[in-house]
């Protein structure tokens, strides 16, 4: 590749030398001007912000106990239920996982106490989830309920995939119609003489 420019003789060109000389000056001046911008930078936090304290985000969830209430579920079923409730400390975990993982979280134990109270009051899993939803809103559920607008969330990926399959199939049909009726090239036939094949085989053996 030519090092000489291809422009006209009178054309002003930036030489390598002038470019290299200009860099430090440009760098220094550029480093000088943005102080104002840098001073305006917002202080950023580290990796994980501090979790919310129970007093900030916890809301009691209670219901009057049913008459002659007995616990409505086993401990294992209760743990399963807690897997469906989103801890509100900011951790993205469910109540069960958070309370059995996070030493410092004060929110999940409080929410766990509410679940225990509701279970002891004889309420069913769906009643308990509804009670939590009434207090915190839908965000307290680990997955959106399958109704109304949320149905879109569950169905759109499959609709998209189905639509994609229809498009791909249609495209393939079009491509197939373009192809000459020729599956005319028999797959097993090799267009070479015996001598050529022997030479090729010898070359393969030699190459090994």
């Amino acid at each position: 590749m030519s090092r000489r420019p291809a422009g006209s003789p009178g054309q002003t060109l930036i030489t390598r030398r002038s470019f290299l000389l200009a860099i430090p000056a440009l760098g220094l001046s550029a480093a000088a001007f943005p102080r104002r911008i840098r001073a305006a930078q917002v202080a950023v936090q580290t990796f994980n912000g501090p979790m919310a304290a129970a007093g900030d985000v916890y809301r009691p969830v209670t219901l009057p106990p049913n008459d002659g209430a007995k616990p409505s579920m086993t401990d294992a079923q209760r743990d399963d239920l807690e897997h469906q409730i989103h801890c509100q400390c900011g951790c993205n975990l469910d109540v069960y996982t958070c309370r059995t993982t996070d030493f410092a979280c004060s929110v999940s134990p409080a929410m766990h106490s509410d679940v225990m109270g509701l279970v002891a009051g004889g309420h069913t899993a769906s009643e308990i989830l509804a009670a939590f939803k009434a207090v915190y809103g839908e965000k307290v559920l680990m997955a959106p309920v399958r109704s109304g607008f949320n149905l879109l969330g569950y169905t759109v990926p499959f609709i998209a995939l189905g639509a994609g399959a229809v498009v791909v199939t249609a495209l393939m049909r079009r491509w197939k119609s373009r192809a000459p009726m020729a599956a005319t090239v028999p797959t097993s036939h090799v267009d070479a003489t015996e001598g050529e094949l022997a030479a090729l085989d010898a070359a393969v053996r030699k190459d090994r």
Binding site: F47, F103, D207, R208
Partner: protein, 680 residues
């Protein structure tokens, strides 16, 4: 050195801006001097970014707490290895790390193409330089790691304890190597679109880069899973967190591209599709970075909310608009005279495989964004957690696994009934046998059962392909089968490396299916107390508390529980779990307490113990989780990486061999095109 580093950052920005300007101008005006200047400016950018990085490392290692980044992410008592890795532990450092990798990749791309693809290279350099300009401008103006504090604190805040883990030291670099790796194919795609040279040339140039990005992305994701598993303590390795999802998106799209590129190579089809996939992988990498840094979606992994999120959003919008314009105005150039001889062919299988891979990517993106969409439409905040993603993605994942088994069994162009029968008989029989056996032995969880059934299909397919290849060599050359196997792989690394990747995928799916048999127990134990629980295999485990111990070590105060464990009455060792309160050099607490999980691992299952809390003086609240087959996740991930390496490994004698055969044939029949003797 620190000042030099700071200044170098600005010089790098100017260099990159120069490189972008003169590269595009040189390409447009066909002036070799400008093109050359642009390339040299990119090399100079690399030098400047290296200097800036050395500056930051110097500041970290010399504990220069006048620099805000150093004070925010290190402390005087932070172990040296984590002081070094703190480079990418925070926002601005990780952006500089990104720029460092991108400038290294750019220099390698320029160097390896110094005599090839010359028509494309000015635009490749220009595009790479533009991306670098964006990153360097974001660093210099939005998140500068050399920003100084008004006062010098006596000690720094320290590195988040969760980042003080070997997994976290190597997981982010791998992920960044993967993310940034998508930039090179993107640059080639833009160059091909700009020059309208949309033939196979640009595709050949990017295949290895796409593989490299895929390889590092795979390793990064698996290491991230491992880190989450051993460090976060919630008992799993994948939580469908937005940031985890963001790492999966480019991986899925890249995987689709690595399959569809074969169709273009073999049949000249899918030209528009391949450009779209290459561009999408890059845009999704930027999207992932946007998610991590914008705070727009709540995530446990995110860096704190900062203005750079807006920069990324703007860049993403510009990149989407520009690439959409380029693709839409070059549709004619991307048109191929695609012909399909049969709906039952390898090409068709690849198309469906692509559809499912992109479908999964769409569903993950959709689920990640659905909380925002829902809030925008209904004004209602919702949580989209693992139950949602599992509901949507498990069927799609199983479909993908099934296609992984079917695809390799179907011939290119057209498969005859006899051929299908011959190819499918063994794998289908094996799959049905395994399905029936597993059902008979009590696996009634439908996704798990299908996973093992389809896994058996894929496994048998792979075994059959290896067997046929080895047997052919054995018969042709009289090689022993042990010798024939490595030679077979070495002679067709793309094909058999791909099968090794598929093997890894099967192993990972089988391990995922094991989660259906996970058991969790919530125990409270005083010193000397014991509790008995039963795992999914029916073993009875006894956990006897040896009591709580408290001590200080290095930069942390430790509360630990030791449990004597026995299985079915036989001693099975001691498991300890800790809570660590990290402190600075003056003994002041720095972060929330963190978990150190106790794990007893085997190929069958992991016994996973977390000290969740201490009640009173000596009552330990612990969670015991029996996680079946977790070790297979890491093994499967390693197999995928090894397969990727095999595929990537250069095939030095390929040209020589082909030209040798051609030479043999030449005297009588000189073929116009050398036959592809080593096909995938």
């Amino acid at each position: 050195m620190i000042l030099v580093g700071e200044l170098s950052l600005w010089v790098a920005l100017l260099m990159a801006a120069w490189a972008a300007t003169v590269s595009f101008a040189g390409g447009q005006m066909r002036r070799s001097d400008l093109i050359e200047s642009g390339e040299r400016a990119l090399y100079a950018t690399l030098a400047m970014v290296i200097l800036a990085s050395l500056g930051l490392w110097t500041a970290l290692l010399t504990h220069d707490f006048s620099i805000k980044y150093v004070a925010s992410f290190t402390s005087a008592n932070l172990p040296k290895v984590y002081t070094i890795t703190a480079f990418w532990g925070g926002q601005s450092g990780s952006l500089l790390f990104w720029a460092l990798i991108l400038s290294i990749y750019s220099a390698i791309a320029l160097w390896t193409n110094r005599t090839r693809n010359r028509e494309l290279m000015p635009y490749v350099s220009g595009t790479l330089a533009l991306v670098l300009v964006f990153f360097l401008a974001t660093i210099c103006l939005g998140s500068n790691p050399f920003q100084r504090l008004d006062w010098i604190p006596p000690d720094g805040r320290g590195l988040n304890p969760q980042l003080q883990n070997p997994g976290m030291a190597i997981h982010p670099p791998n992920l960044y190597l993967g993310y940034v790796g998508t930039t090179i194919p993107f640059a080639f795609a833009i160059a091909a679109l700009l020059t309208r040279r949309l033939d196979a040339e640009w595709l050949a140039a990017v295949r290895r880069w796409a593989l490299l990005a895929w390889f590092f992305n795979t390793v990064g994701i698996v290491l991230g899973m491992w880190w989450a598993y051993v460090e976060l303590g919630w008992g799993g390795y994948w939580a469908w967190d937005p940031v985890e999802n963001a790492s999966l998106l480019p991986w899925l799209v890249n995987t689709a591209f690595l399959h569809s590129i074969m169709v273009q190579e073999k049949r000249g089809m899918l030209r528009k599709w391949n450009v779209t996939l290459v561009v999408s992988a890059f845009l999704l990498s930027i999207f992932g970075t946007f998610i991590t840094r914008s705070g727009v979606i709540s995530s446990v992994h995110s860096f704190a909310q900062s203005p750079v999120g807006k920069w990324f959003a703007a860049f993403l919008v510009v990149a989407i608009v520009v690439t959409a314009y380029l693709v839409s105005t070059r549709l004619n150039d991307l048109r191929s005279n695609a012909q399909l001889e049969s709906m039952i062919s390898r090409e068709a299988a690849f198309l469906y495989n692509n559809l499912v891979l992109v479908g999964i990517a769409f569903s993950v993106l959709w689920g990640t964004l659905f909380p925002i969409i829902s809030e925008a439409v209904r004004g209602n905040k919702i949580t989209v957690g693992p139950p949602f993603f599992n509901t949507v993605n498990i069927p799609l994942g199983l479909l993908l696994l099934l296609l992984t088994g079917i695809g390799p069994l179907i011939a290119w162009r057209r498969a005859s009934v006899a051929n299908l029968k011959r190819q499918f008989i063994v794998p289908v029989t094996a799959a049905i046998t395994i399905g029936v056996l597993f059902f008979a032995f009590g696996v009634h969880n439908v996704p798990a059962l299908l996973s093992y059934t389809f896994g058996a299909l894929v496994l048998t397919t792979i075994a059959q392909e290896f067997y046929k290849g080895v047997d052919a060599r054995h018969r042709m050359y009289g090689e022993s089968r042990l010798i024939a196997l490595p030679r077979l792989i070495a002679r067709n690394r793309r094909r058999y490396g791909g099968y090794i990747v598929h093997l890894g995928v099967v192993v990972v799916f089988a391990a995922f299916a094991g989660l259906a048999f996970k058991r969790e127990f919530d125990l409270t134990l005083n010193a000397g107390d014991s509790k008995v629980v039963t795992d999914a295999w029916g073993h009875r485990w006894t956990f006897l508390s040896q009591g709580i111990s408290r001590y200080n070590v290095l930069n942390r105060e430790v509360t630990a529980i030791a449990l004597d464990v026995s299985r079915d009455g036989r001693p099975a060792g001691v498991i300890t779990s800790e809570k660590r309160q990290h402190v600075d050099s003056r003994g002041a607490p720095t972060f929330e307490p963190s978990t150190e999980v106790g794990i007893q691992s085997s190929f069958k299952q992991d016994v996973y113990v977390v000290l969740a809390g201490v009640r009173g003086a000596d009552a330990a609240e612990i969670r015991v989780t029996f996680n079946p087959l977790v070790r297979w996740v890491w093994l499967g991930g390693a197999l995928m990486a090894i397969g990727g390496l095999v595929v990537m490994w250069p095939q030095p004698d390929r040209k020589r061999v082909q030209s040798g055969y051609a030479a043999v044939l030449k005297p009588q029949h000189a073929p116009e095109r050398i036959p592809d003797l080593v096909g995938a």
